[in-house]
């Protein structure tokens, strides 16, 4: 068992002292009130008679002593707030400390979005977890405290300064992070995990799980995305899932807006636990940003009421083909509804606002600002840094069968600055890719007409994938908030609030924290991608259930069923006992 208010040994000491004090005070012979009476003669006669005492009279004092101790104990427990501790944790707490075991208390707060759910008491689960964390930190009894969240890892500590922990608790907020690694703290004697159990986690047995779960009704958008279109005039289909996670049927209003235009506004009645799906076709042109919203009466979580999606095919990719033989590409690119191709001769080319430039067997005099595809250039384009060359197979080659193409003539390029990403059967380098802050290009070591690739089945796919990869530095689609990794180097990432999001480069990957739902804009090599981030998820939004096993969790100062802190019950019990004792004393029922 652990205690919220102080360290276990201090709490046990306090309990022992107050119980001993209560018993001592009870047994203390106080001077009784003196009452003068006319004569003691009759009293002496009565007292000297041998009287049979009832069982109650015989045990009355012992019962009163027990009640006094119970009252004191209940009051002490109400102040100290003990917590049930799983056997494994109890063993950890009770085991003799090894020399290398530090005096550290680790507090891990679940930062999944469901923690923002408002409970019946008016507090959110997060508020309860923060309050509990404060009490653990203040009761650490001189131990070092480490504060972590499941999304951000360690946010403060190890430190003995409770003020630092308090400041960190004021600072942090839920930010998803269901996929983040479990924050490990070296030398932690006990790890308190404050969670509502919305997300299943494999925890080590010595983690003390403390529940802040309190069932709450909720209506949520559990899925919102856009499927790509398959026809020339369709940009795709927006599909939306809305679920009612409440014990009663609810009227739910669903709206979808494309830019400022409303494309859906309906009211539906959802049975308890039921979900509804809506599919809205998207035409090409128009705003690519979709925003969905649901509203209902019983709705404990706000963050999953809004969702965003990006229509990737809404705007065509502007491609400039710099070639003296445009007929080689004309039929090919005109078939792709996602591309708007412009042909220009090498002599007339000047860098413009295009999304992608294709240089067919030539190199521009001035380096292109746009991402570029070099097809059999006379020489390799210069690179700013060698580290921008991609070593592994980039995304655009993932769905391309290079074996379906017959490369009759392959040009050779110096591999000092560039690293090949695809080879022929004879191990000749076929494709090079380079990606760094402002430079992003792909180099084909083969010409289109040299190898008659226009008739190869895989070539249109290779061209389309390459253009898409160059135009969109990262794959679109919908993500959940939390830490996210992207293949390639991102030059910048802008959040929904317009502020830059820090990006960390780890090898060939970029890592950033998508803390808030909304649209993010990623830039790399002058190409831009929009990422839609939504919090809604069946795992998060179902606030009526928890994945915490009843036997494995302790209540973080609140009853999981009623939401009422149990120490209030202890306090109430003490007062009830006190009142009963006082009443029986005053009424002379038991004395």
């Amino acid at each position: 068992m652990s205690f919220a208010a102080m360290a276990a040994w201090q709490a046990w000491l306090v309990i022992g002292v107050v119980v001993a004090a209560a018993a001592g005070l009870f047994l203390l012979k106080l001077k009784p009130p003196q009452i003068s009476i006319p004569s003691l003669t009759l009293w002496a006669r009565v007292l000297d008679e041998k009287r049979d005492r009832t069982l109650w009279e015989r045990i009355r004092k012992a019962v009163s002593l027990a009640i006094a101790i119970l009252i004191t104990l209940a009051l002490a427990l109400a102040i100290l707030r003990p917590l049930r501790t799983p056997p494994s944790v109890a063993n950890a707490l009770g085991a003799p400390r090894t020399p290398d075991q530090g005096r550290r208390t680790s507090i891990v707060i679940d930062s999944s979005w469901s923690m923002l759910a408002e409970t019946s008491s008016g507090q959110t689960r997060w508020d309860k977890a923060i309050a509990r964390a404060r009490s653990i930190a203040s009761g650490a009894g001189g131990e070092e405290v480490v504060l972590s969240t499941t999304a951000d890892g360690v946010v403060e500590g190890p430190t003995q300064d409770v003020a630092l922990i308090e400041a960190a608790l004021d600072r942090i907020s839920p930010s998803g992070g269901a996929d983040a690694a479990w924050p490990r703290v070296e030398g932690a004697r006990v790890t308190h995990f404050l969670t509502d159990g919305a997300i299943a986690r494999a925890l080590e047995p010595d983690v003390l799980v403390e529940s802040v779960f309190d069932a709450a009704p909720n209506v949520a958008i559990t899925a919102f995305d856009v499927r790509p279109g398959v026809t020339l005039d369709s940009a795709g289909q927006a599909f939306l899932d809305v679920a009612n996670y409440s014990p009663a049927a609810q009227d739910v209003r669903i709206t979808i807006a494309r830019g400022n235009a409303s494309v859906l506004d309906v009211k539906v009645t959802l049975a308890p636990g039921a979900a509804v799906q809506r599919i809205v076709p998207m035409t090409r042109g128009g705003d690519a940003r979709l925003r969905a919203h649901v509203s209902a009466t019983q709705n404990a979580l706000v963050i999953d009421d809004d969702a965003v999606a990006f229509v990737p095919g809404a705007q065509q990719i502007a491609v400039v083909i710099v070639s003296d033989k445009p007929e080689s590409f004309g039929p090919l690119l005109s078939q792709d509804p996602a591309v708007h191709a412009t042909f220009i001769s090498p002599a007339k080319y000047v860098p413009g606002p295009e999304d992608v430039a294709i240089f067919d067997r030539n190199l521009p005099a001035a380096p292109s600002r746009a991402p570029a595809l070099f097809i059999a250039p006379p020489k390799a384009p210069p690179v700013k840094t060698k580290s921008g060359s991609i070593a592994g197979a980039p995304g655009f080659l993932a769905n391309v069968d290079m074996a379906s193409m017959n490369f009759e003539t392959v040009h050779s390029y110096s591999t000092e600055d560039l690293v090949p990403v695809a080879f022929s059967e004879t191990h000749e380098p076929l494709v090079f890719a380079h990606e760094e802050g402002e430079q992003r290009f792909v180099l084909f070591a083969f010409g289109v007409n040299d190898s008659k690739l226009m008739f190869a089945p895989g070539f249109p796919s290779l061209i389309a994938s390459t253009i898409d990869w160059l135009a969109h530095p990262i794959a679109g689609g919908v993500r959940h908030p939390g830490p996210a990794s992207f293949s390639g180097a991102l030059a910048s990432l802008t959040g929904p609030d317009g502020k830059a999001v820090p990006v960390t480069q780890v090898g060939s990957m970029s890592v950033a924290s998508l803390a808030r739902p909304g649209f993010y804009q990623a830039t790399s090599g002058n190409a831009t991608s929009v990422i839609a981030v939504n919090a809604g998820d069946p795992e998060i939004s179902d606030l009526e259930h928890t994945r915490l096993a009843a036997a494995a969790r302790t209540d973080a100062g609140a009853s999981a069923s009623s939401g009422r802190p149990w120490w209030l019950l202890a306090l109430g019990g003490a007062l009830a006992l006190l009142a009963a004792e006082w009443w029986t004393w005053q009424r002379r029922v038991t004395v």
Binding site: L30, I35, S36, I37, S39, T41, L42, L47, E57
Partner: protein
Amino acid sequence: MALRFDDEFLKKLEYLHVVSKRAFAGQSRADRLAPKRGAGMEFADHRGYSPGDDFRHIDWKAYKRLGRLLLRLFDEEQDLPIYLLVDTSKSMAETQKLDQALRITAALCYIGLTHLDKITIVPFGAKLGDESTPGIGKGRIFRVFDTLEKVQADGPTNLRASFTEFASRGRQRGLVAVISDFLDVDGCEVGLKILRTLGHDVFAVHVVSEADRDASSFGDVRFVDAETGERRDIEVTPRLAAAYHAAWQEHTDAIEKFCGRYDIGYVRADAERPFEEIILQAFRQGRFLA
């Protein structure tokens, strides 16, 4: 304490007189028939003339009719010696009890004075106090008031020693009213017997109060005996309080039975009961006043 009665109550008292079961010889002429013949107003009997008898008492009409000298005898009317023994021990110190006892004493005094009885007020505790004889006539009642107002409760109760001392002095036999709570460690029986043995007509006026009857407090208390100062720590439970009340009732019943067995008048005077009600009802029902 101011012992004063209003005029209306005094008039009521004047209609009462102390009832003695027996006639006692007094010393002065008064309202009560004495056991001896003498110079009274009421004819009692005849007897034969003896030389030296007062010629004025010869019944000449009887001589004419019977031819014998007969002397007319009259009942002599004398006063009644009334001894009011007032308990002034500490156990009576409770204000209500002592007040009630002194008022009763004053009222009995007034009744006696009105009927020209010889009143003697004798306070007692562990021994007799200073006796007081106010005189004869109802005008002396103020002297009685003054005397009683000076009475202070003090010391323990010892009925046996006090009444033995009372008996040791030569006194006319008469009516003795013992006004007390009878809370004597050695009991009251021996003392009352002494008075009865002396030939007095004895009345016991039992003054009791709420504090005598019931436990005044519950829980852990330290009772202090008002007379002896003895202390005793007691946890007063409802059962113990009930047992005490039963013991007190038994004690009271025992005194009443004892009085009945020895032809001693018994009147209970509750301190909380209105004084006039006690005098005008309880004492008359107890055949102490008529």
